[in-house]
Amino acid sequence: MGRHVLLIEDEPHIAEAIRFLLARDGWAVTSHSDGTDAVEVIRRAAPDVLILDLMLPGRSGHEILSDLRGDPDLATLPVLVLSARGHADTRAKVEQAGASRFIAKPFANDEIVATLRQMTPV
């Protein structure tokens, strides 16, 4: 098995596309669609890398990110933030909040795959 990526995304079609892409690239993919218990799910799944959508039901990606960075066990987990927000300052804001990388939606499939590889050097 490849390395483990956890995907937190509430749009089922987008989640399906990303799951397909990453599985094809040799990743083991688990996904979750709710913000409320996301931090707990992340802690239990202990992935090598996390893909996090910003607009989630329950809790926003911003809150989840800030929880992760405040948690000693999860502070160093690489996080790729996805968002359909049009604001230019979203990237700066999430990177300041501790996101490793940021990709705006819609994205190019290769960009996701390449970014994830860069984020987890072997």
Partner: protein, 901 residues
């Protein structure tokens, strides 16, 4: 004569009646029909809890022992009520504007929301009231005893403590049931007030009946009574001016400071104007209560065997004359006096104990303080209930320990003087801005201790809590510290002695320390608000207590910015946070922006102070802030009025600023809207782009190709629908829509909509309830548009109704020239906080996947209805989600033509 069982049965029936009355009043109030529940008459009757068993039975005893002096107990309240303009009106106004829950709360709130003061007042109140409650229990058991001993065949009264225990238990139950039903924003108890009003009538009727019987049944009318008075020792009692003045003063002070009086007079007051009725009606009540006291005392002394307890003449006279039914009525009167006092006192004391002792303790013991989430309402109710039980338990224990000693008989006046210690801090607080919390705390403590030492403890008698030696020689033999002759002043009546020392030293400490200390900022602000309460009149109040932070902030912001503007701001913020349709998170960024927004309305210093207090947390509650907000709003309105009157130029300038602000708001709203649209467009586009790239892979298996092409197809439809909706909305909003007005039968339109919506979640069993005959209403309107609204509502119900067996009820009817159609489902409905947001664009409440739409449906419905000259609204409190569509039977085409131009 009256067997025990019948006596108990009558009591139970009477208590049952009280329950019924209280319950009916609560039900009525819940349905919003307060009406006569809050009439001046009921208010006046509720004040009669001033007349406890001590006055009902004891006044006669008092008259038999000390002549007319008993009148002082009625004179004090009469003076306070007649002079209501001076103090009462101000107290009630402050009580309402500051949302005071008890006398402890009043003092604590006035002196900078200091909880120390709240605790001191609570302790004084509990210490003074416990024996008083015990006295009521004693009166009920004693009156039972009278019936027992009055019977020749004699049924022995079961154990007296057991009777008291039953009474205490029953009262606890009643008080908990009706005193802690809910955490009302106003701390009002309709059921309890109704029940005590009824009891007020019963005790008045009972005393009058006994009086009339005594004057015309036993004696020979008034002239005979007058002759008997001359002959009796009552006529010889010397008038002691010192005691008269002192007692009148103490009872006047007590009517203001007794927790139970404060509860009915200030906290339960729903309309200031009731005071003006009570100002003559309550003295009249007291007059009627005192009318027959002397006749009963005189006749009792003459007719009953020597050594009879004059405190029980009201009961024993009718019994001795063989009037069992009248005695029973008198018994119920005494029972009413005792129970109504205990119930209200327990509610008032429990509120104080819970708010000033239990809750602060709980908050400080709990990690995270007031900001930690949790069911605070439930906790408050629970602590109130426990406090009520504890207060009554204390009264009962006191009763058992004191063994019904003679000391109890004097406890009424002792309790009066105890609570009167609150008077200086109260009067100073509402009339003197220089009064400080330190001064009040010291004054209260000094007064309380002196009262304890000079009156309360000695009242237990020699060998009680103070030894006989201390009473006679002073502690450690220090002569000038003797409890009943402080500083060597001897020969005074013990009550006057205690009154003089406790209140004068209390006032002295309060005034002098206040002069030498400086109030803190909150204290200063509260002092200003209390002393100048009439200068800015508080308006209507619609606060809710408790709840989430963001809600509190919203409520506060609405008080300052106005409802629409505040809601608009919060919605925009929520959208910017990616939480459209919810309340925003209270992030530091958000709070900072809110502060700036508030500063525009009330100035930066105030806004900062308010926000800072809120952000700091537990010390100042959201409720306090809302009070401040309301005040700020009044000041703002006041100054706006002044401005409007003064200069034309200033008005123009302000209009310009307003126009500018409105433009800025519009721009903010537009940005938020665009950002939201961008998000709604990007989401389907993301799926489309990702899957089209995947489809480029020639090795993709055929069934996956088919599946992913299907996804792309679905998402394209979603995009198209979004664009259609947006265009539709834009046309409707600009009122550019051309209405196609036709005549139709409403029934056909509803059927059409139901049919069209039937493919929404078709897999679910879905039941419709319709009243076909009622639906046959001819309408003249744009039928296609109206059907569009109906389809939306029906398919929303099909989509979101979360009941296991979803059902939708459609009710149609005509009212005057309007048609009203209600759509009510049986799901869990829409949360209160979200109800005002659902008609906003993109205000989708559930997750995207399930909804399928873009969150524009209801916004479009609202615009359509506006175009049709009608409305659509959410109906709260219907059980499930409920929408009401209302439109004119005939859409006037002429207006359209005018609007179109």
């Amino acid at each position: 004569m009256v067997p025990f069982n019948i006596l108990v049965a009558v009591c139970l029936v009477y208590v049952g009646l009280l329950f019924l009355v209280a319950f009916a009043a609560e039900r009525r109030a819940e349905r919003g029909r307060v009406g006569w529940l809050r009439s001046p008459l009921v208010y006046t009757l509720s004040l009669s809890i001033y007349c406890t068993a001590w006055t009902f039975y004891g006044a006669v005893g008092y008259a038999a022992r000390s002549g007319l002096e008993y009148l002082t107990i009625y004179l004090g309240p009469t003076l306070v009520l007649i002079g209501w303009w001076v103090i009462l009106r101000k107290l009630v106004r402050i009580g309402r504007s500051q949302r005071v829950t008890s006398i402890a709360d009043l003092i604590s709130s006035r002196y900078g929301k200091s909880n120390v003061l709240g605790v001191i007042v609570t302790v004084i109140a509990v210490v003074a009231a416990t024996p008083y409650i015990a006295l009521q229990l004693q009166s009920v058991t004693l009156s039972f005893g009278v019936f027992a001993s009055g019977t020749p065949e004699g049924w022995a009264l079961p154990d007296q403590s057991a009777t008291a225990l039953w009474v205490a238990g029953g009262l606890t139950l009643f008080t908990i049931l009706f005193g802690t039903r809910n955490l009302d924003a106003n701390e009002r108890h309709h059921g309890v007030v109704m029940a005590i009003a009824l009891e007020a009538v019963v005790k008045l009727v009972a005393l009058l009946a006994v009086g009339i019987f005594v004057v015309w049944g036993v004696a020979d009318g008034w002239s005979d009574i007058a002759a008997r008075v001359h002959a009796s020792p009552i006529a010889d009692w010397p008038l002691q001016p010192g005691r008269w003045i002192g007692l009148t003063f103490v009872s006047a002070a007590a009517v203001l400071t007794l927790p139970r009086m404060f509860q009915v007079m200030v906290v339960e007051n729903s309309d200031e104007r009731h005071l003006s009725t009570a100002s003559w009606a309550f003295p009249l009540y007291l007059l009627l209560m005192s009318l027959f006291v002397v006749p009963i005392a005189v006749v009792g002394l003459a007719e009953l065997p020597a050594g009879s307890n004059p405190d029980l003449f009201v009961l024993t006279l009718p019994l001795a004359e063989g009037q069992g039914k009248l005695a029973m009525l008198a018994f119920l009167g005494g029972f009413s006096s005792a129970t109504s006092m205990v119930i209200v006192a327990a509610i008032a004391l429990a509120t104080m104990v819970s708010n000033h002792v239990v809750m602060p303790l709980w908050l400080s013991l709990r990690e995270g303080g007031a900001r930690a989430p949790g069911d605070v309402r439930g906790l408050v109710l629970m602590s109130r209930r426990i406090s009520i039980a504890a207060v009554l338990a204390l009264g009962y224990i006191y009763y058992v320990l004191s063994g019904g000693s003679a000391a109890l008989a004097a406890i009424g006046l002792i309790a009066f003087l105890g609570v009167a210690q609150i008077l200086p801090a109260m009067i100073g607080g509402i009339f003197w801005r220089g009064a400080t919390g330190t001064g009040a705390a010291l004054g209260l403590t000094v007064g309380f201790l002196i009262w304890l030492y000079t009156l309360y403890l000695p009242s237990f008698g020699e060998g009680g809590l103070l030894s006989a030696r201390i009473l006679a020689e002073g502690p450690w033999g220090i002569d000038w510290l003797r409890p009943q002759a402080l500083f060597g002043i001897e020969g005074l009546d013990p009550l006057l002695h205690a009154l003089f020392w406790s209140l004068s030293l209390n006032t002295f400490a309060f005034v002098s320390v206040s002069l030498f200390t400086f109030p803190g900022p909150v204290e200063r602000m509260q002092g200003l608000a209390f002393v100048n309460v009439f200068d800015h009149d508080p308006g209507a109040r619609g606060w809710s207590r408790g709840g989430a932070e963001a809600e509190d902030l919203l409520a506060m912001a609405q008080g300052i910015l106005g409802a629409e503007e505040a809601q608009g701001f919060f919605e925009a913020e929520a959208q910017a946070q990616g939480k459209a349709g919810f309340l925003p998170e209270t992030t530091p960024d958000f709070i900072e922006r809110l502060e700036r927004r508030l500063a525009g309305a009330v100035g930066s210093a105030t806004a900062h102070a308010m926000i800072a207090q809120f952000a700091v947390g537990a010390a100042v509650s959201a409720q306090d802030l809302m009070a401040v907000a309301s005040e700020a709003q009044q000041i703002l309105e006041y100054s706006t009025q002044l401005e409007a009157k003064s200069e034309e130029l200033a008005r123009t300038a302000r209009q310009l600023t307003e126009a500018n602000d409105k433009l800025k708001d519009l721009s903010v709203q537009k940005d938020a809207f665009l950002s939201q649209i961008s998000h709604e467009l990007r989401t389907p586009m993301t799926s489309i782009r990702a899957f089209s790239e995947i489809l480029k892979d020639p090795d993709l298996p055929a069934e996956m190709q088919k599946k992913y092409a299907g996804v792309i197809h679905d998402e394209t439809i979603r995009l198209t629908r979004l664009l259609d909706d947006l265009l539709d909305l834009s046309v409707l909003e600009n009122r550019k829509v051309k209405l196609d007005v036709k005549v139709a039968n409403l029934h056909d339109l509803i059927s059409k909509a139901v049919q069209a919506a039937s493919n929404t979640r078709p897999e679910r069993q879905f039941t419709l309830h319709r009243d076909y005959p009622a639906e046959h209403i001819p309408v003249i309107t744009d039928t296609d548009r109206l059907v569009q609204v109906f389809i939306n509502l029906v398919s929303n119900a099909r989509k979101y109704c979360d009941a296991e067996r979803p059902e939708l009820t459609i009710n149609a009817r005509q009212r005057g020239g309007r048609v009203i159609v209600d759509f009510i489902d049986n799901g869990s409905g829409i949360p209160k906080a979200s109800q005002r947001l659902i008609f906003e664009k993109f205000a989708r409440l559930t997750d995207t996947a399930r909804a399928g739409g873009a969150g524009l449906g209801l916004a479009i419905c609202r615009e359509i209805m506006t175009n049709l000259g009608g409305t659509i609204a959410y109906l709260p409190g219907q059980g499930g989600a409920a929408f009401r569509v209302s439109l004119p039977v005939r859409r006037e085409v002429a207006i359209d033509a005018a609007a179109a131009e």
